[in-house]
């Protein structure tokens, strides 16, 4: 055990830890992204419904133009939501495949080592 004075290695370690970049951390960011994308898509549908109902009730062409712009905004939000959903889903899927490949490779190596027989 050491005394009260930290060793040079510990001092260096402390300094390196202080310099670390820390993001705060998020567990399973893809799950959050999928949830956000679903919420955005629902919001986009609501925007479209509002735009449709308001434009139907508007007599003035300028009001209708406003609603067309709102509808376009809804389409943009929907496209963004779909993009985010695809991106997060594909990331989860590829991560799963990567882990599966690593485990299969490890199992293959174990089989080869077993086939080679006991160590000399």
């Amino acid at each position: 055990m050491s005394d009260d004075t930290p060793s040079p290695r510990l001092e260096e370690f402390q300094q390196q830890v202080d310099e670390l970049k820390v993001t705060g951390g998020r567990a399973n960011p893809e799950r959050t992204a999928v949830t956000v994308s679903i919420v955005l898509f629902v919001a986009a549908v609501i925007i479209e419904i509002i735009a449709f109902s308001q434009s139907s009730n508007a007599d003035d062409a300028r009001d209708q133009t406003d609603m067309v712009i709102l509808a376009l905004l809804g389409v943009v939000v929907a496209l963004g939501a779909v993009g985010l959903f695809l991106r997060a889903s594909l990331t989860r899927w590829f991560r799963y495949w990567l882990i599966r490949l690593i485990y299969e490779e490890r199992a293959n190596t174990d089989r080869m080592v077993d086939a080679l027989g006991p160590p000399k």
């Binding site: 055990m1 050491s2 005394d3 009260d4 930290p6 060793s7 290695r9 510990l10 370690f13 402390q14 390196q16 830890v17 202080d18 670390l20 970049k21 820390v22 993001t23 705060g24 951390g25 998020r26 567990a27 399973n28 190596t109 174990d110 080869m112 080592v113 080679l116 160590p119």
Partner: protein
């Protein structure tokens, strides 16, 4: 020894996908201290090491390294500063030779000569096996190689996951002699083990983990007395401090 722990987990919750494994883990490893984390299969010991090494992001709680909160830090950044994990099973590349495995540790910015000196100095047997494929080494030699790789980066905190798994008792004893030697040189070590007898002889403090929580922390001799009861799910007469 300074009061500030080198590693501290406060109320850590973590798991895999929708399954929570850790339900509020509190753990402290002091500078120069050897802690044994014991518990049955599925208690959450390896997940705790995963969180401590930055490989698993906690869903709740705080992770401190040397007094600084480091939630969200990248595991490779932690490894570079000296938080090193020897994982369960083998932490080696089985289809590379011993020398190639050791050479891989130069990523940490340590020269190849220094890496070799540290590895072969601590484990002379590896020098004899340096041209052999790592996967064809015996279990004990593979663990030595895994430890040599970890020590090559000059860690400040070493975490060992199930060092004794699948090894003969005499080999386990030999490996723990090396661990005791490292501890004498001031390295902080967190050891996870399912079977406790050998590790309790090396540890300064021990903790029992059950169902994703630290059930009891204390001196190794006290923990040894309560271990069987804890494994069998019998309430300890002395109770727990968590």
């Amino acid at each position: 020894m300074t009061d500030q722990p080198l590693l501290e987990l406060v109320g850590i919750r973590a798991g895999y996908g929708i399954i929570d494994v850790l339900h509020g883990v509190d753990l402290r490893v002091g500078a120069g201290q050897v802690m044994a984390l014991l518990g049955p299969n599925g208690a959450g010991k390896s997940t705790t090491l995963g969180v401590a090494s930055g490989q698993i992001q906690p869903t709740g709680g705080r992770l401190f390294i040397s007094g600084r909160e480091v939630n969200g830090v990248r595991p490779d950044a932690l490894a570079r500063v000296g938080v090193c994990l020897v994982p369960e099973g083998r932490g080696i590349f089985p289809n590379l030779t011993v020398t190639e495995n050791i050479r891989m540790m130069t990523y940490a910015g340590v020269s190849y000569g220094d890496v070799q000196d540290r590895a072969y100095g601590q484990f002379p047997r590896l020098r004899e096996r340096r041209r052999q494929l790592a996967g064809t080494l015996s279990g004990g030699e593979q663990q030595m190689l895994a430890m040599a790789r970890a020590l090559a980066s000059d860690p400040a905190l070493l975490m060992l996951d199930e060092l004794s798994m699948g090894l003969a008792p005499i080999i386990v004893e030999e490996l723990y002699e090396q661990v005791a030697d490292l501890a004498r040189n001031g390295l902080s070590i967190l050891i996870v083990e399912q079977f406790a007898q050998t590790v309790l002889g090396v540890a300064d403090v021990a903790a029992i983990m059950l169902h994703g929580r630290i059930r009891r922390t204390g001196p190794p001799n006290e923990i040894a007395d309560e271990l069987t009861a804890a494994y069998l799910g019998i309430e300890s007469p002395t109770g727990g401090d968590h």
